[in-house]
Structure formats: C-alpha cells, structure tokens
C-alpha cells in the first residue's frame, strides 16, 4: 500500500495515535463537517476529534441520517462528504445511506469503526463484516489493519471518491489500530497503477460528434446527474445556446440546464413532460451527457430502439456507455472537459448551426398540449399548487430536497431549477427518508440559504428523529409536507394496476405534526385552505432563523401525470384526465 502512495517531503513527522491520525487526515483534506454518531469502536476517534478544532462534528440521531446529510452536503457543494459511524449496528445503519450515494455517484468517505483486529471473525460484540456488507454498494472499500496504513488509505479514499465517476468509499478501522502509535505523514499525491480515470475525451470522436450535431434535423440534448456532478452545466448551456437545440434533464440532472429557458422542454422519463418524451423518442441525433438511459428514463428499451436515431454519449464511466442502449459515438471523459472541447471545435466550424425551425414548431405543438396542467381547486389544496407557490416565494433560489414518491415527482415537475446542485433527491435508489437529512446537509453547506424539504407523511417519518438534530444546530429548514394520508405513489399504482385495492397504503394514526414539531422547539403550521398556501409559505420563509414544519393537507386522490407505465414506450404516455379531456374537446 505505501509503495504506491508517495510520501510527503515533510521530515518532521509527528508521532501520534491512529485516532489522531484519522482526525489529522480529515483536516489535511480540509473537511469542514463530519456527520456521525459515536460508539464503542470509535471512542478513540471521538476523543481525538474532541481535542481538535479543524472540522465540526455534527451529531445526528441515527447513522443513516449521518450518511444522507454528508451525501447532501456533497451534492450541494461538490466537496467529498464525510460520515463517521461505529462498528456493527452503526455500520449497518449507514448502509442505506451508502447505497443511496452509490446509485447517484456521490463522493463520500465513510469511516466505520471495527472491533479490534484480534477479535475480527470471533463474532465479537458489535462486529459485522463491513467490507463484505458494503462491497456491492461502494466504489471501493478498505479494512485498515496497521496504524501506518491509516494515512495512505484515507488519502486514497478521498482520491477514489471524487475522481472519475464519483462514489462512496468506506474505510473500516479496527479499534486497536486507532490506539496504536505511528509517525503521521500525509501523502501529497496518490498514484495507483490500477486506477486511472480517463478525463480527456478522444478528439476524433469529439469532432465526429460536432459534425453529427450540425447535420441533425431533429436534434435533442439529454443530460443527467453526471452533468451536474461533473460541473459541466455552464459548458452545456454554451453549447445548447450556440446550436439552439432543445434540452431535457433527467430527474438527477435537473438544474443542469436552466428550467426557465425557452430551450428547456422539461424533465423526461416516467413522469416527464409530453414534449420532452416525444422529442426524445423522435429525434434523429441525440446528445446524451452524463446520463445512463435507465429504465425510468427511456421506458421500454426495445420500443426506444425501434425509432432510428444516432446517439452520441459522453460519460466518464465507460461501463455506462452502451449498457442499456447501443451508442453510435461514445466519448469517454470528464463532461466539462469534453463539452469545452466541443464548444471549441464548434466555434471553428463555418456553419455553426443547423436549421431546426421545423423541429421546433413540432416541439411547440407538443408543448401546446400542456401536459403539466392540473385543475386548481379552492376547496382542497392541490400538491402541485404548493410546489408552484414554493417556487414563487423562494424566487427559484432555494435548495430543494425531497423524499421519494408522488411529492418527489411534483417537486421535480413544478419547481423550476435554474441552477445545478439545488435539487437534491435520491434518484437511483429511491430512498424514502432522505429528505430531512438531505436538508440538513444543504443547510450546513450554505447556512444562509433557503432550504426546503418537500416530503410526504410516509417518507418524513422514516427519519423524523432528525427534528432533534435540526433543533440542536438551529437549522432554519422549511419542511413542506404534502400530507395526503396515503403512500401516494403506492396508492396511485394500486389505483392504476391493482383495481383500487389499496393494500397497506393508507396511513392511520399519523402524529399531529404541528405539535410534534413544537415539542422539539420548532414552529409548526397546518394549512388546509388553498387560499392560505402562499401566505403561509411567505410567513414561514420570513422566519429566517426558525425551523418551520408546514403540514399541508392535500388532495388525497391526486395522481402524477403524464405517466409512462412500466414496460411501455416513452411516447406511450398516459396524460392526466384533465389534459386528455381538454384535448378531446379541442378535436
């Protein structure tokens, strides 16, 4: 291990315990926050962090929330998120957070305590094989067995987490190792013969791609989470503007292109807009950037492949290319670097655009269908209306986190994200319970920012204990609970596909969320009247220093539209009854 990690030139190495080395490494990495929860195996580390004042430790109420908060901190800032948990149950509690980050390619370093080396394999108290448990849901993991390996391992962990396609890295450290003493030398660089991500795109492929884009009659740009994580949004905007091409974002990619721009056709996929899905299906040249054609995005791959189109795919991860859909021009590289090269090549072209007038008039016709239209009611609060008003009240500037379900889709459809790293949700794993810890991570990332957590009464209860953490650190988060007393997305599928048999999707015995929030010292509000929605949101966001829990009682029967049903093609959307009947009337 130390053979491949270059030693620092510093000859005044200080002798210290493994625990102090862990803490010093985190400070060398300029970590600002460590989200964690103490326990037996990490007591030495907790003692060491007590004695330092580099990073701040944030005490959560459950290890899952520690990892989610670190994950959101990373999504909001672009820095590596750090979590610290104890062995056994602390480690297994962290696994959902790690898997969530893995699916969305979020760079994390998770340090877990382990039983002392001689106790490993003895079924010791609070022992679990953390390296084995997390192997399928980490980018990489390490078990450190010697105190001298701590520093080079943590250096590698940060390097692996943030380079290439980012992801979580677990460093499992036995307790006795943190008590042993070694000289502390933090390696300045890392070199690994087995790990060299490709950053620069192949110039021939890039030239070919630009030529193809300029030959397109019906072009389309489709970007995902990779564009946001790879900080490529500015270059993409430049390219899309120069070409005047339509742009769609995946759920993970929202904010990668400004949603209020006229070239933006909305999110695509299972609950994408009509125009985005139709344009995706019918385009002749598709530029995919940091996206992976997943099942929720393109629907049935056979149906998608049934339409002929030329696909250019930029991704830092070669294994994401031609995985679900065969690609014509693969470009492996860092999205920012490749897009910047594309912009340069485009600038040298004689004709820097292509005639897309017919294509745009077709798209505008699709747009005219207004697939996100819904019927406002003055007697019951429509969830879509709450999100629209939230966007207005926060002027589109808030960090918005969501949990998983209907409210997540409405948040994605109706909050117009103009900037990257503002929309924080669990797209890949679809983890209920991320919303509140995600909001915590965002608020630590930017303490003056407006942070809204759009959630449901099912999801919020999966990490409701974090109301206590929010109180401890005075986080002025605004929880926007769209409370329909149902596990809404489950109910919607049961309505559509199980003949209204609402098996276990109704939630009885909900707490009084207002009183619950108040019991932690927060402000609680219950809003039942549509006329009060805007005023209540304004009042909540005016309370800049308070955590406000807003319980919106919403329409229990509202469904998310459009919808591409499981196994169906992207252009086979079911429109809302309202849209469908309006179209019928127009015929």
């Amino acid at each position: 291990m130390d053979a491949s990690a270059h030693s620092a030139t510093d000859t005044h190495a200080k002798s210290m315990t493994g625990a102090d080395i862990v803490v010093s490494c985190l400070n060398e990495e300029k970590v600002k926050f460590v989200f964690g929860y103490p326990g037996g195996a990490v007591l030495h580390i907790y003692d060491a962090l007590y004695k330092q004042n580099g990073f701040k430790h944030i005490l959560v109420r459950h290890e899952q929330a520690a990892v989610h908060a670190a994950d959101a901190y990373s999504r909001a800032t672009g820095d590596v998120g750090v979590a610290l948990v104890t062995s056994g149950p602390g480690a297994t509690n962290a696994v959902t957070g790690i898997a969530t980050a893995y699916m969305d390619s979020i760079p994390l370093v998770v340090i877990s305590g382990q039983v002392p080396v001689p106790a490993i394999g003895m079924d010791a108290f609070q022992e679990v094989d953390m390296v084995g448990v997390t192997r399928p849901c980490v980018k990489h993991n390490f078990l450190v067995k010697h105190v001298k390996d701590i520093a080079p391992t943590i250096k590698k962990a940060f390097f692996i987490a943030k380079t290439g396609r980012p992801g979580p890295v677990v460093v499992d450290i036995p307790k006795d190792i943190t008590a042993h003493v070694a000289d502390f030398i933090y390696p300045k660089t890392v070199e690994m013969r087995s790990y060299n991500p490709i950053l620069k795109g192949h110039s021939g492929q890039i030239k070919k791609a630009v030529k193809l884009l300029l030959s397109a009659k019906r072009p389309m740009i489709y970007t995902g989470g990779g564009l946001v994580l790879g900080n490529g949004a500015a270059e993409l905007v430049k390219l899309a503007k120069a070409l005047n091409f339509p742009v769609t974002n995946t759920l993970m990619g929202l904010g990668g292109y400004p949603a209020t721009d006229k070239q933006f056709v909305g999110m695509l996929g299972m609950h994408g807009t009509y125009e985005a899905n139709m344009a995706m299906q019918h385009c002749d040249v598709l530029l995919a950037v940091g996206a992976r054609f997943d099942d929720r995005v393109i629907g049935n791959p056979k149906h998608f492949g049934g339409q002929k189109r030329t696909i250019i795919h930029i991704d830092v991860d070669p294994s994401s290319i031609s995985k679900r859909v065969k690609v014509d021009v693969p470009i492996v590289g860092d999205v920012q670097s490749v897009l910047s090269d594309m912009n340069e090549i485009l600038a040298q072209e004689e004709n820097q655009t292509t005639d897309t007038a017919d294509w745009w008039s077709q798209i505008n016709e699709w747009r005219g269908i207004q697939s996100l239209d819904y019927v406002y009611s003055d007697s019951v609060i429509k969830p879509q209306y709450v999100v629209q008003k939230l966007w207005e009240v926060t002027k589109g500037e808030a960090y918005v986190t969501s949990d998983v379900g209907q409210h997540q889709m409405w948040a994605a459809q109706y909050y117009k994200f103009d900037k990257p790293r503002r929309w924080i949700n669990s797209g890949g794993l679809g983890t209920m319970g991320v919303g509140l810890p995600y909001a915590m991570g965002c608020q630590f990332a930017d303490k003056h920012a407006q942070v809204a957590c759009i959630t449901g009464e099912g999801s919020i209860q999966m990490n409701i204990q974090e109301l206590s953490t929010c109180a401890q650190y005075g986080l002025p988060i605004k929880v926007i609970l769209l409370n329909n007393r149902y596990l809404g997305m489950v109910r919607q599928w049961q309505e559509f596909f199980y003949e209204n048999r609402y098996s276990e999707s109704y939630m009885d015995s909900l707490p009084d969320f207002v009183k619950l929030a108040e019991s932690y010292g927060h402000v609680g509000m219950r809003i039942t009247n549509p006329a009060d929605v805007e005023g209540a949101l304004k009042e909540a966001f005016d309370r800049k220093d308070k955590f406000v829990f807003m319980d919106f009682l919403t329409d229990q029967t509202e469904n998310v539209f459009p919808m591409v049903e499981n196994g169906k093609g992207l252009s086979e959307m079911v429109l809302s009854p309202n849209t469908a009947s309006r179209l019928k009337g127009e015929e």
């Binding site: 053979a3 192997r135 070669p318 294994s319 995985k323």
Partner: protein
C-alpha cells in the same frame, strides 16, 4: 458464446470476492474462476471462463475494469490463445477396469499418480473440452471422484498480459 477472460489485480485481501461479487450481483455466468499470485507478489492473475452475448461480454470487461483493484483485463478470445485445465480423477481399478483405465489414461496422455488396492488416481491436463471428452470416454460407473481446477489461459506469442 464462451469467453476466457484474463485479468491482473492487486494481490490484496478481498480482491477475489470483489470479482465473484460483481458476477453474482450483475447476473453474469461463471463457468470457472482460477486465481493465484504471479511472479510479482503484489499481483494476482485470474482466469475467468464465462458465457454471454457480445453485449454482455463487453459489459463484463467494462465492469471488471471499473473495479479499483483490477489493473488489466484481457479477453483472450480476441486473439490466439492457449487454455489448460488440470483434472484429478479417482477411478475404480478392479476387474476389467484395471487395464481399461490404464489404456484410457495413455490414450489421453494422462498419468496415474496414485495406485491403491482398488483405485487409480489419474492426472490429466488439457483444454476443458479434452477433460470433458475423457469423462465421456470412460465408463461412468468407474468414476469415484473428480476434481478440476478450472481453466487457466494465456495469449499466444507476443500477446502478453503484464503491467
């Protein structure tokens, strides 16, 4: 189609489980997997025999390359290569089988490496299909026990997998 994939990886604890875990998690087939340290003690060499369509094999190679510990991956089927597998077979060596087994062993260029009162243990090396052919050729009722190593593969001539 059957492919033989060779790879070099860091000789570290858990490296084998990362490869095996990848195959099971993504539903890829493993017909055999052999691994041992190379002349460079920091490196392990692994040979994996798998089956799949071209698309699946392409994904397998990419996913193997994505593992942090994997240094190099080579699909031996991309060029000329040799594969060898070792099999030990314990067979009955009583009555008619006594001569029969000796003769079959000679035909397949095997060696009898252990002789007991009632049995021979035969060592046989060759391609997987040669070993299969031997099993097919002898009387099934004579087989007491078999153990196979799985294939090891290497490129012919200048095709070298090295760091």
């Amino acid at each position: 189609m059957r492919h033989i994939i060779s790879l070099l990886m860091e000789n570290e604890a858990g490296a084998l489980s990362r490869v095996a875990g990848l195959f099971s998690a993504r539903g890829y087939n493993i017909e055999s997997l052999t691994v041992a340290v190379t002349e460079d003690p920091t490196l392990s060499r692994m040979t994996i025999v798998t089956t799949g369509s071209d698309d699946v094999i392409e994904q397998i190679i990419k996913q193997l390359n994505k593992l942090i510990d994997v240094v190099k991956v080579l699909d031996l089927n991309d060029g000329k290569h040799i594969e060898r597998e070792l099999m030990l077979v314990k067979v009955k060596a009583t009555g008619v089988f006594k001569d029969e087994m000796k003769r079959m062993c000679d035909i397949f260029r095997g060696r009898i490496i252990d002789v007991a009162d009632n049995s021979y243990t035969i060592e046989l090396t060759g391609s997987c299909s040669k070993l299969d052919a031997f099993i097919e050729a002898i009387d099934r009722s004579a087989i007491l026990e078999t153990v196979r190593t799985g294939a090891s593969g290497i490129g012919r001539g200048d095709r070298i997998l090295k760091v």
